[in-house]
């Protein structure tokens, strides 16, 4: 298992390295980084000085070394709009996104898991088909359209929820629904598939034959085995939550990472864009790694399989 985790760690580092390299190359390809990353009104003398300190007159490979060093020290330039370190601006937006994301995920699990399990247990009935319809809806509905429908319903017709801002808990309801409902659909679908697969396994039949009650089979034999793939699936969904947050936060004026990224792109505040992309890549890679570790701990076969495969 140690070996498995090491392989995963190396892969995570490689992924991070590729993303950092991609951003570095993008900056170089799109023009003079000093011109891009410094505010337009910077005096030429200051610009030249900064160019030198970034090593822009040196060979590309040396520049890359300096770039990596700067990133490891967390210095990614200053925001054009308020002159604060770009990393600080990004880090300040994280708690709000974390709050929104975790609530949305919790909501989606509370709704999606039971629906998926019920659908699997009532396989090929109208309940099953209803859940599947919800799931298809879940990955087809545009998040921004769902947001607008919710605003029309809760803010403009019923007038019970605020449509923008983050001052109170009531402000959290619509963003969580927007992000959580499609996710619930996808989780329900995945849970159903996963549960159906496990319920068809011989050990379930053995448990039933031994006289274990239906509920016991579901809770003690099926659930732990169906949980493992689901956990891996949630690791993938973290990316979808971050992507969805970009739209959701913008619509509801929720001051998180997604809205920051979109607004920075709109005004071309490139240091902040760069920092936001690197930070979100870091979050994705770390969360994928965490889910991998969970997976290996919960399912001892994983380490062994990786071992025999490599």
């Amino acid at each position: 298992m140690i070996r498995f985790l090491l392989i995963r760690l190396v892969r995570a580092l490689v992924t991070l390295f590729i993303c950092v390299t991609a951003v570095f190359l993008l900056l170089r390809v799109s023009g003079d980084p000093a011109a891009i990353l410094l505010p337009p009104e910077t005096p030429p003398a200051v610009r030249a000085e900064i160019s030198r300190s970034w090593g822009l007159d040196r060979p590309l490979i040396e520049q890359f070394g300096l770039y990596l060093k700067a990133i490891s020290q967390g210095s990614l330039g200053y925001s054009f709009t308020d002159n604060r370190p770009a990393v600080d601006v990004v880090v300040e937006s994280l708690p709000k996104t974390f709050l929104l994301g975790s609530f949305a995920l919790t909501f989606a699990l509370l709704l999606g898991l039971p629906l998926g399990i019920i659908a699997a247990l009532r396989h090929n009935t109208s309940i099953d088909r209803g859940v599947m319809a919800l799931a298809v809806f879940g990955y087809s509905v545009p998040i921004f359209f769902l947001a607008i429908l919710l605003i029309l319903l809760f803010a403009l017709s019923l007038r019970i929820l605020p449509s923008a801002g983050s001052a109170t808990w009531a402000h959290l309801v619509m963003p969580v629904l927007t992000l959580g409902l499609p996710l619930a659909g996808r989780i329900a679908r995945f849970t159903r598939t996963s549960a159906l697969e496990v319920l068809g396994k011989p050990f379930i039949r053995t448990a039933r034959a031994k006289g274990v009650r239906r509920l016991g089979v579901i809770l003690w034999h099926a659930a732990p085995n169906a949980a493992v793939p689901l956990l891996m699936y949630l690791g993938i969904e973290i990316g979808a939550i971050l992507a969805g947050a970009a739209v959701t936060e913008t619509v509801f004026a929720w001051p998180g990472l997604g809205r920051l990224l979109v607004e920075s792109v709109a005004v071309r505040d490139l240091p902040v864009v760069q920092a936001a992309i690197l930070v979100s890549t870091f979050i994705m890679v770390v969360s994928n790694l965490t889910f991998d570790i969970f997976h290996a701990v919960l399912d001892p076969r994983v380490g062994a399989r990786e071992w025999s495969a490599s």
Partner: protein
């Protein structure tokens, strides 16, 4: 395995060979969208730019609006029906181009990885993993920020959604095809690599590729409409379904139809494509894993 199991296996198959009504509806809607996209100039009663400032914020004619405007007008008195028709053209064509480019890039990379193996394969698959770890919309936002916005670049951005899925799929399929008897026979007969790829392997994996493309298409539409909705994709005076929705968002209180009509079109299109894609997968390629 004797006749009884064959008989019981036959009956459900016969039922399956009929196309379910939901799938028929989906196909009908998709055909309508494609026809609308191709014949937008003929179908639209007005230009998407024509303003009628006297008739601003008119509700759809069947809700007591102006007789001239079936789906109402927007904040500049532009006909929503005409704008939706032109927006369908923009969004559908961008999504088709994006899907095609993404499929080509991914397929090529998959073929290269499978043919070369070794370190080339490893490097390409690391790129695939890196892309899979990163939502396409973030990458697209980065590109737009660094390079600015133009239509060509925008289509390229949209094609980024899912290339890694084609690459992984094609690599796996080609690797398994390469070991099959018939390829070894063709190789023994002296066929060169390009001939093997285009004449033998590609036709055999085409069904899986079509299924993958149909499953990817909704994501591509959503990426384009999301970016346009955020004001970072198609720019005015152009029009796209996402852009209409983004503009209409400001007038929800007194003119909900500006946002809701293009929104419904997007929803019905992605929904139809998802249903159609799922059905196609079950029909053509039961071995392909469920997408999510």
């Amino acid at each position: 395995m004797t006749s009884p199991s064959l008989v019981s296996g036959d009956t459900p198959k016969k039922i399956e060979s009929r196309i379910p009504w939901l799938i028929r509806l989906s196909i009908a809607w998709l055909i309508l969208m494609i026809v609308t996209a191709l014949a937008a100039d003929v179908l639209a009663p007005y230009s998407y730019k024509t303003q009628d400032l006297v008739a601003r914020f008119k509700p759809p004619s069947w809700l007591g609006g102006n007789e001239k405007y079936f789906l109402g007008t927007d904040q500049l008195g532009r006909d929503i029906l005409s704008r939706t028709i032109y927006a369908i053209r923009t969004s559908i064509l961008i999504a088709i181009a994006g899907t095609a480019i993404g499929a080509m890039i991914g397929t090529t990379i998959g073929f290269i990885a499978a043919r070369m193996r070794g370190w080339v394969d490893q490097t390409l698959m690391m790129l695939v993993d890196a892309q899979a770890a990163m939502p396409a919309i973030f990458l697209a936002l980065g590109f737009l920020a660094f390079f600015g916005n133009n239509l060509f670049l925008f289509i390229l951005m949209v094609s980024l959604d899912g290339w890694e899925r084609y690459a992984r799929l094609v690599r796996g399929l080609v690797v398994s095809e390469m070991t099959s008897e018939y390829i070894r026979a063709v190789e023994a007969l002296g066929s060169k690599a390009p001939r093997i790829i285009f004449q033998h392997i590609l036709p055999n994996i085409a069904a899986s590729l079509v299924v993958q493309a149909s499953l990817n298409f909704p994501g591509t539409i959503l990426l384009e409409t999301s970016l346009s909705f955020l004001g970072l994709g198609v720019q005015p005076p152009g029009t796209s379904l996402g852009l209409m929705l983004g503009e209409g968002r400001r007038y929800l209180l007194n003119a909900w139809w500006i946002a809701v009509i293009p929104g419904l079109v997007i929803l019905l299109t992605t929904l139809s494509m998802s249903l159609f894609g799922d059905w196609l997968r079950d029909r053509l390629d039961p071995t392909l894993e469920s997408r999510r």
